[in-house]
Subunit: 256 residues, 2 copies
Amino acid sequence: MVSQRGEGETTSTPLEAADKERARAIPEAAVARLAVYLRVLSGMAESGVTAVSSEELSQAAGVNAAKLRKDLSYIGSYGTRGVGYDVEVLVSHIERILGLTRNHSVAVVGIGNLGHALANYGGFPGRGFPVTALFDVDADLVGIPVGGIPVNHIDEITAICLEREVSIGVIATPPPAAQSVCDRLVSAGVQCILNFAPVVLQVPDNVEVRKVDLAVEMQILSFHVARRADEAVHNSNGGVSVGNNGLGVDGMVIRP
Amino acid sequence: MVSQRGEGETTSTPLEAADKERARAIPEAAVARLAVYLRVLSGMAESGVTAVSSEELSQAAGVNAAKLRKDLSYIGSYGTRGVGYDVEVLVSHIERILGLTRNHSVAVVGIGNLGHALANYGGFPGRGFPVTALFDVDADLVGIPVGGIPVNHIDEITAICLEREVSIGVIATPPPAAQSVCDRLVSAGVQCILNFAPVVLQVPDNVEVRKVDLAVEMQILSFHVARRADEAVHNSNGGVSVGNNGLGVDGMVIRP
DNA sequence: TACCGCTTGTGAACGCATGCACAAAGTCGG
DNA sequence: CCGACTTTGTGCATGCGTTCACAAGCGGTA
Ligand SMILES: NC(=O)c1ccc[n+]([C@@H]2O[C@H](COP(=O)([O-])OP(=O)(O)OC[C@H]3O[C@@H](n4cnc5c(N)ncnc54)[C@H](O)[C@@H]3O)[C@@H](O)[C@H]2O)c1
Ligand SMILES: NC(=O)c1ccc[n+]([C@@H]2O[C@H](COP(=O)([O-])OP(=O)(O)OC[C@H]3O[C@@H](n4cnc5c(N)ncnc54)[C@H](O)[C@@H]3O)[C@@H](O)[C@H]2O)c1
């Protein structure tokens, strides 16, 4: 379907249009995996690997080879039959599809235990997510630099987020403050939120929320231990587990 | 189907057997949501709420009411038609299904930025996940208490994990160390691993891995921004987003 | 050039998850 | 006791995601 790119376009507009028609159709689960492939491929590129087959890449990414090929097919046909994929080419196309061709400025709200860790973490800027603003309600923290960036007071959030074009807001406040912080981020024009507080956030339709809930992760693990233990009791088979299969915890966006 | 519990069992064995037959059939996605329901219900219980309808609970959990009822039906029929659910009853049944009737001892490996945050976090013990051991390779850290628990050297991991019956290992080391730490945890009998390092871990079939990859989360958000921006360009509709629908980042368990 | 072996890309089948819609089953008021 | 009203539990249809299997396509080789 579609494709046949590189025919005779002068501007890049038709090409991009085709890509974005496609982008809409990429399954959510595939997007998550594409990010993983990208990381693996980046690692390979750094190690000097220039070509890779779907089999090799799928091994490294921990997925089924057929699934990997299907995932890649969502973004276009950039492989060579009989040979495999060019690592650089794949990297650049995945980056383009994931919108990583431009930087996404990140603001962290709540500079406590977790906020400190996030602000100090060096892994984000390198991947196109520079942390450009930190916020907290605690007056003692305001002005203190964490990870090289001074903490601002939460009341400045709207002005600063607009000014620095923050596109991702990270919420690392205690649960009771999370919704209010979220509302402020939204009114500052932030359309993506990564929420660490164990709260279900209410947001408008045009805002995307993803949550990371460690307690939920542990409870899922707990469930599998329990299940495995029972299986071991019922039939005395070794208790084989399939691992979590691509599902995970969700983002819970309310839509009215 | 099934149910009709509380008939005439003397021991609890037949009841539990029925539950565990069921447990095997609970969809992974439903398990993740059950953990969310549990959190919401616990909050309600603390606020003195004793009964709740599927409509109310689904609102609070950010899911469709029908889905919520179906999720609850996987664990049994504990509601009262025309009335709703008893909060306490639901809490105890979800806890039982998730295996939260017993504590799950947690060990954190890699007491850097993130490890400190995790060790200091008070939210785990209260939810049945006491952190009982910390490990790091850095000799300067060994012996220093973090969150009330002294850091041990990584070489002691096997002995201590066995002794303290650690059931969940949390990996918060730099990526290159993650696989080796994982292997040590596995050989210490740990069957559940929560991995923060951006690496695909290779584990035996009987070990369950879940990963939390913040860069991947951000890239998924980035994808949606890009998609939304394009939609806005193509047709000038407001750019409505569906939010992430219960999917997320996965755990990538290799099976040979 | 023609053939061979290898790997991609994808049509099609399957299975799981979601959401609808309604019967069953309960409460409450009279 | 009965009938009206409420809410659960679930059969069923629909849609999404995964997996299989294989034709199409490419590089290498004679
Ligand atoms: N630390 C962890 O490992 C961990 C693990 C899982 C979940 N979480 C969750 O992450 C969140 C943060 O955890 P933490 O351990 O860093 O908590 P923390 O108490 O150490 O830090 C919270 C910070 O948020 C600030 N804050 C409070 N109200 C605010 C507001 N309205 N606006 C801006 N800042 C505000 C506080 O001043 C504090 O600095 C919590 O919701 C917690 O449940 C943390
Ligand atoms: N800090 C964050 O916010 C953040 C965000 C996303 C991902 N991560 C990931 O989490 C992991 C930890 O991040 P961090 O910022 O805490 O790193 P960090 O460098 O601050 O801490 C790593 C710790 O692990 C210890 N360590 C190294 N090798 C070890 C080994 N073999 N055994 C035991 N301990 C060992 C180090 O001594 C150090 O204390 C990394 O893989 C990072 O990519 C962190």
